[in-house]
Symmetry: C2
């Protein structure tokens, strides 16, 4: 990106973020010691995080031991959808808060049966901005954007695209009904984050789901550098 | 809503919000004294705020004197789109900040030619959560949700739906290609805010735009109670 990302904080925000980073580092060390690979899913509301997660969990049944932490301001609607897959799930209602933080994750993990767990998915609160600033101790952040959101989201909300290991473009089955330039969207993602792996999916038709699952398995197997 | 909305704040947040409320009240009094009707548009990223705004401004050309304040974390892409309508526009780049506040609006208004202005549109940063807490001094908040976001957004992000005078359901032309229950979405909006006026629009086909314009004109003409 030609323009650097300007990070402005006031002291109290700095203190909150420092404390969060400390807890997140502890979470990460603990997850590592248990062999748990942790994925933090972040997107706007309605980009399809829960739907992708449900399809992912269905595909992983009998193969990997998974658990899920669901973040929403209100309701347990998502946790109920996830619970139907049979995997353990914890719902966090953040109330007014606009993101999950490392302390919330730690609390929920202590309530989950994590012995022998392979994969922990954390579905963040639907918000393309605030969750980017809060490390949860995950191995990878994955940002989702749906084709209905337009091509320019990576440029307008660069931090989360900059920090994510992979960007999943969802709802690609809708492209024929939209004015959406997929190549431009991908160019914009790479402008903000040249290393981002881009995956195209449709939970509706199943297109691209195998590619996403393959990436997930490969990334999980990859040793940390 | 059966469950009340839980508002949790820490003291520093309270102070920031109190100061914002004071500035917003001053903004509101000043807008009132100038006969300027102010609309604060709030939605997730990619729900179609800018597109609705462009179509609205085209329809108002030669009828009403409008100005626009555009909020985004980064880029002036939206302001450039708006500028093509010929109306004056100011872009605010919030950097890391996830919402506009009353001080930002005041600063931008001082840069706009507001003499004889009828309507000021403020397009907030794409975020369904944080902008809800920051009064800008507007007359009405309008929340947008696109049909691709699913029916349950009003329940999961209730505050902004609770505070909005109108809820615009956008991209209704896509309904035939989705599993989307419009009646359920509207029921969910009214569960959170029984008084909300619901408007259905498609900027792509033009459907519902006249209804939105009529509502805007009627609301502008309505004396404050």
């Amino acid at each position: 990106m030609s323009k650097s990302i300007k990070i402005e904080t006031i002291p109290v925000e700095t203190r909150i973020l420092n404390e969060n980073d400390r807890l997140a580092a502890e979470n990460r060390a603990w997850f590592g010691s248990q062999g748990i690979f942790v994925v933090n899913l972040i997107s706007s509301p309605g980009s399809g995080k829960t739907t992708l997660l449900v399809e992912t969990l269905k595909a992983l049944q009998g193969k990997l031991k998974c658990a899920i932490i669901e973040g929403d301001q209100q309701t347990d609607l998502d946790a109920r959808r996830i619970a139907e897959t049979g995997f353990p799930v914890r719902q966090v209602n953040t109330g007014q808060a606009c993101h999950l933080d490392a302390a919330m994750v730690r609390k929920e993990v202590s309530e989950l049966a994590v012995a022998g767990l392979d994969l922990l998915f954390i579905e963040n609160v639907g918000n393309l901005i605030c969750p980017a600033e809060f490390d949860l101790g995950e191995n990878v952040k994955v940002v989702l954007m749906s084709v209905t959101e337009g091509e320019e989201k990576p440029l307008k909300y660069p931090l989360i695209f900059h920090l994510s290991t992979a960007a999943v473009i969802t709802k690609i089955d809708l492209i024929p009904h939209l004015k959406f330039d997929l190549a431009l969207a991908e160019k914009n993602i790479h402008q903000v984050n040249p290393k981002a792996v881009i995956l195209r999916t449709s939970a509706y038709t199943g297109e691209g789901l195998q590619g996403w699952l393959d990436w997930l398995a490969a990334r999980k197997a990859q040793p940390p550098l």
